[in-house]
């Protein structure tokens, strides 16, 4: 066991060969996490990755930490039992859009409602990868099962940010597989936060849904298509930083900074700490609006008491209150009687 400061990415690597398709976005995510963890100061044996089922959920096998590849959709519930009893561990949940928003939607909501200090990495590739290409709850309406002469999906997709907000997730982050630098920075932010982190990662399923996020990757479109959020900074974007978000009443609008009508100070300023969640709520609507950039970065960041801490407090408080009654005494309390020999 090495001292934290001397840790290297290799210390977080397992001996298993990685088994994703060539070109899968999961490789990039794995790389940035292995690269970032050493700096976070927790040695591998204090770290546990818990996943469900899916391509994304194979993730723990490739980490040199403790890892548990559980069952479909249940990772948040299993992680809850682990964190509630082992607050000392650094716990990461890895899940997919089907795993967490289809079969696992309810556990996800309750994990964030209770607020355990874990980070949930949602690899959103807008498809069921492992089962070969069915549409998922984040797939756009009309998406077809690949290689099938099927008519498209008639399901309206979820907006993951709205789900996280509904569960009052104290920290909400979004990044994208290909942007290793941003990913790394965001992973650090997530690790620093005490409380449940909802971390959506746009991930390219090269084989069954390739290019779903092309506009956010393509050098030419990317700066116009994405809004990099920074706390306290105006929401300005565009290749020439010539566009911004302005609030008109409740509704956000994209303004053109070149046109002259508006200046930078008309731009809405980002506030991670908005308790009400209303600002995050506005950012969530961007993906439903035409010609709006996709916000990435720390969307929300507030503090809420953690479930495992409150649980520990209760146990400790009760133990003191208990006034040192022994278990034997408990059994023998209440109405008892002796039968003489």
């Amino acid at each position: 066991m090495k001292a934290a400061q001397t840790l290297t990415p290799e210390d977080f690597e397992s001996d298993q060969t990685v088994r994703w398709c060539p070109g899968c976005g999961d490789y990039a995510i794995l790389a940035s996490i292995k690269r970032t963890l050493p700096a976070l100061g927790r040695p591998p044996h204090e770290v546990a990755f818990i996943s469900g089922i899916g391509c994304s959920s194979r993730f723990p096998y490739y980490m040199g930490t403790y890892g548990f590849h559980t069952i479909h959709g249940r990772a948040p519930a299993i992680a809850t039992g682990l964190k509630a009893t082992r607050p000392d561990l650094d716990i990461w949940i890895v899940t997919g859009d089907g795993d967490s928003l289809s079969i696992g939607g309810n556990h996800l909501l309750h994990l964030f409602r209770r607020n355990l200090d874990v980070t949930l990495l949602l690899f959103n590739n807008q498809v069921y990868g492992l089962t070969k290409g069915q549409y998922s709850p984040t797939s756009p309406t009309g998406q077809k099962v690949v290689h099938k002469s099927m008519v498209g999906s008639i399901d309206t997709p979820f907006n993951p940010l709205r789900i996280a907000l509904a569960a009052n997730a104290p920290m909400i982050i979004r990044s994208i597989d290909r942007d290793l630098k941003h990913m790394g920075a965001m992973i650090r932010r997530a690790a620093e936060h005490h409380g449940a982190v909802f971390f959506e990662i746009y991930q390219d399923c090269h084989v069954f849904n390739g290019g779903a996020f092309a506009e956010f990757v393509d050098k030419n479109s990317k700066m116009d298509a994405m809004l990099y959020l920074e706390h306290g900074k105006p929401m300005i974007f565009g290749r020439e930083r010539d566009k911004a978000i302005r609030l008109d009443g409740l509704q956000p609008h994209v303004i053109d900074l070149k046109a002259g009508a508006y200046g930078a100070d008309d731009a809405l300023v980002h506030d991670e700490h908005d308790e009400s969640g209303l600002l995050a709520g506005i950012l969530a609507t961007f993906q439903e609006r035409k010609d709006f950039p996709r916000p990435v970065g720390v969307i929300r960041n507030i503090e809420r008491p953690c479930y495992e801490d409150m649980m520990a407090d209760q146990v400790n408080a009760e133990t003191e209150k208990g006034g040192g009654q022994t278990l034997q005494e408990l059994f023998e309390s209440g109405d008892t009687w002796e039968v003489e020999a």
Binding site: G67, G81, L82, A84, N106, H107, Q314, V315
Partner: protein, 643 residues
């Protein structure tokens, strides 16, 4: 004027009234008083699935039956000596249980209400017809008497202390209890103490005096009047020496877990989702946080099961409980627990099925689900409680096996055991067997799926241990390394390991106890809550000189190694069950023996008398080779429903 008491060996009393009127309390008080007095006893609470059905309806009746004796007993009794029927519906629901010439104590005014009679389905007041001629019916206007006795409280100066008529009426259950205490020469002290503590809460204290007054008034009234032909006395039973308390099965389970946690040094984690009749375990444990118990009310049973898996992975003594429908939901995650070979306990407090079924009634019909209800070859040890007082031991043993063999263990109890009470000889913690978890710590040559040669247990290597970082999951694992493996030979090997590991648990089972003749005409084999009836039935049969014996199984999977040999020593095997023959099925498959069943699926315990009747007809058949008797009674219930 006082009468000298008639001595009885035992008596069965049944209190019945609308739910929410305190009948459970009256029954409970009588039971505890008798326990303290030294009787052996057995109780049977029975309440409706609705929270509170409308007053006077048949569905709304809540009853509490207590049997107390100077000999040791094992069932709440098939027949009732004294029925306290506070309204017509209560009478209608329980009358069939009352012995000929038994005492029926009724509250007059509620029988004068046409509505009550109609709701109970009487077109005439049964107290005025000849229907009850063969019983000793005692009719008392408890409302009026209680109100008289509590007059003063209706007149108090202080508005806030003053009681309304409605409040006073509610004390009638204490008046009735007072009468019954007199009838059986029981002291009032215990109940008086209980009243004083129970109502010692803000806004409740004003009820202390009135309730005590009502209790005493009932006692005095019975004493003063000539209502009862006699008063009775049931002498203390000669139980094993030791310290006792009354306990119900669910509390027994909770206590057993606290003990296992303390003895093993493993922190206790209990996750559950409320469901009848298992919820009480969660409530109990939640109030024992001071012993380090962490309780988690999950969003559903799947989450409860998964949280237990997570806690077990982290090194806790993990437990979850539910009843049939909830256990169904746990199976997929339980299969994961079997695959990753982590220790935990899953309790099923059985109730009537299928589906939502009869939530407040008891049944033994989840044995198939317990042993075979998962996909793939996914074996696990299964054991069952058989009386409220053994729940403590059984769950303690479950914990010991789970930890020693690194496997989830499934424990079967049922609603009757969960709610029913019995005197419990309080164990001495220090005398309980050790539970020694073996946590892996040495990275040298560590393999997550290496096995203990004796138990085939894999090491328990919890996160946080330096140098033991490893990955596990639900995919098939390579023997030793635990790496994912699709190799066919390895899969078969691991499948056989998982099966063999559970079989080896049989080594832990002590020689099977055969009560009665070591060999002979008939063996009565049972499991679970039919214990009391089977025991009582065998005792009666033996007393009559029949060549019978009984075996009651705690372990259902694996079965005891010596069971096959025992079964062969008897001409016939009878297996009474509250299902359509689930244990019978396993016995037949394993031993190829033509075991017969007595199967009752009525949401109620089997009666000893029913077993005796069935057994005697079988014994007769053997003698006479005739199955004449058979029709007469044993299949009575089956015949009723020939379809």
């Amino acid at each position: 004027m006082a009468k000298s008491a008639v001595e009885l060996q035992e008596a069965v009393i049944r209190f019945a009234d609308d739910s929410g009127t305190g009948m459970q309390v009256s029954g409970d008080q009588f039971a505890n008083t008798s326990a303290l007095f030294g009787n052996d006893l057995s109780t049977l609470p029975d309440f409706p699935a609705e929270i509170r059905a409308p007053a006077g309806t048949l569905h709304g009746i809540s009853s509490f039956q207590v049997r107390f004796s100077s000999k040791d007993i094992h069932t709440p009794g098939d027949q009732v000596d004294v029925l306290i029927a506070m309204n017509p519906a209560a009478l209608k629901m329980s009358l069939h249980l009352v012995k000929p010439n038994g005492i029926i104590l009724t509250n007059e005014p509620s029988f004068n209400s046409a509505k009550n009679l109609r709701l109970a389905g009487y077109d005439q007041n049964p107290l005025e017809t000849s229907d009850l001629d063969k019983y000793q019916v005692i009719t008392v206007d408890m409302i009026d008497l209680t109100n008289k006795a509590l007059e003063e409280f209706a007149k108090l100066e202080e508005e806030k202390d003053r009681l309304s008529k409605k409040e006073i009426d509610r004390a009638k259950n204490m008046f009735a209890l007072g009468m019954v205490f007199w009838l059986f020469n029981r002291p009032l002290e215990h109940t008086v103490k209980w009243i004083q503590t129970y109502f010692d809460r803000p806004n409740r204290r004003k009820y202390i005096e009135p309730n005590i007054a009502a209790l005493k008034a009932g006692h005095i009234y019975a004493e003063a009047t000539d209502l009862f032909a006699a008063s009775y006395e049931v002498k203390p039973a000669i139980l094993q020496p030791g310290k006792y308390r009354n306990i119900n099965g669910n509390t027994g389970l909770a206590f057993g877990l606290l003990a296992a946690s303390q003895k093993s040094g493993l922190p206790l984690f209990y996750s559950g989702y409320p469901i009848t009749p298992a919820s009480a375990i969660l409530h109990e444990l939640a109030s024992y946080k001071r012993f380090g118990a962490r309780t988690f009310q999950a969003e559903d049973e799947i989450a409860a099961m998964c949280a237990a898996v997570g806690a077990a992975y982290g090194g806790s003594l993990a437990v979850t409980a539910s009843s049939g429908p909830g256990i169904a939901l746990k199976q997929e995650a339980l299969s994961l627990a079997i695959s990753v070979e982590l220790p935990m306990i899953v309790c099923n407090i059985q109730r009537g099925g299928p589906s939502t079924g009869l939530p407040t009634k008891t049944e033994q019909s989840d044995l198939f689900q317990a042993i075979g209800g998962r996909h793939g070859e996914s074996p696990l040890p299964v054991l069952a409680t058989s009386r409220p007082s053994d729940c403590f031991d059984v769950i303690y043993e479950a914990a010991r096996i789970a930890v020693k063999y690194m496997t989830p263990v499934l424990l079967l109890s049922d609603g009757y055991l969960g709610n029913g009470t019995e005197p419990w000889p309080i164990p001495d913690l220090s005398s309980l067997p050790d539970i020694q978890p073996q946590f892996a710590a040495d990275p040298e040559g560590f393999e997550p799926y290496s096995r203990d040669p004796a138990t085939l247990a894999r090491p328990w290597a919890v996160p946080g241990t330096p140098g033991l970082e490893h990955r596990i999951g639900g995919l098939e694992k390579e023997d030793g390394s635990g790496n994912v493996s699709y190799d066919s030979d390895n899969h078969e090997k691991m499948t056989l390991y998982r099966a063999e590991k559970v079989q080896r648990v049989a080594r832990e089972i002590p020689p099977t106890k055969v009560d009665g003749d070591p060999e002979g005409d008939l063996l009565i084999l049972g499991w679970g809550s039919s214990y009391g009836s089977i025991r009582a039935a065998t005792d009666q049969l033996l007393a009559k000189g029949s060549s019978v014996a009984r075996v009651h199984l705690r372990w259902l999977n694996p079965l005891p190694n010596d069971l096959g040999e025992i079964l062969k020593r008897f001409k016939r095997i009878l297996i009474p069950e509250m299902n359509l023959g689930q244990l019978r099925h396993y016995i037949r498959a394993k031993y190829l023996i033509d075991a017969e069943g007595f199967n009752k699926v009525q949401g109620q315990p089997i009666f000893a008398s029913e077993i005796v009747c069935k057994a005697e007809s079988m014994l007769d058949e053997q003698k006479r080779g005739a199955s004449a008797i058979n029709e007469s009674c044993t299949n009575a219930h089956a015949r009723r429903f020939r379809i």
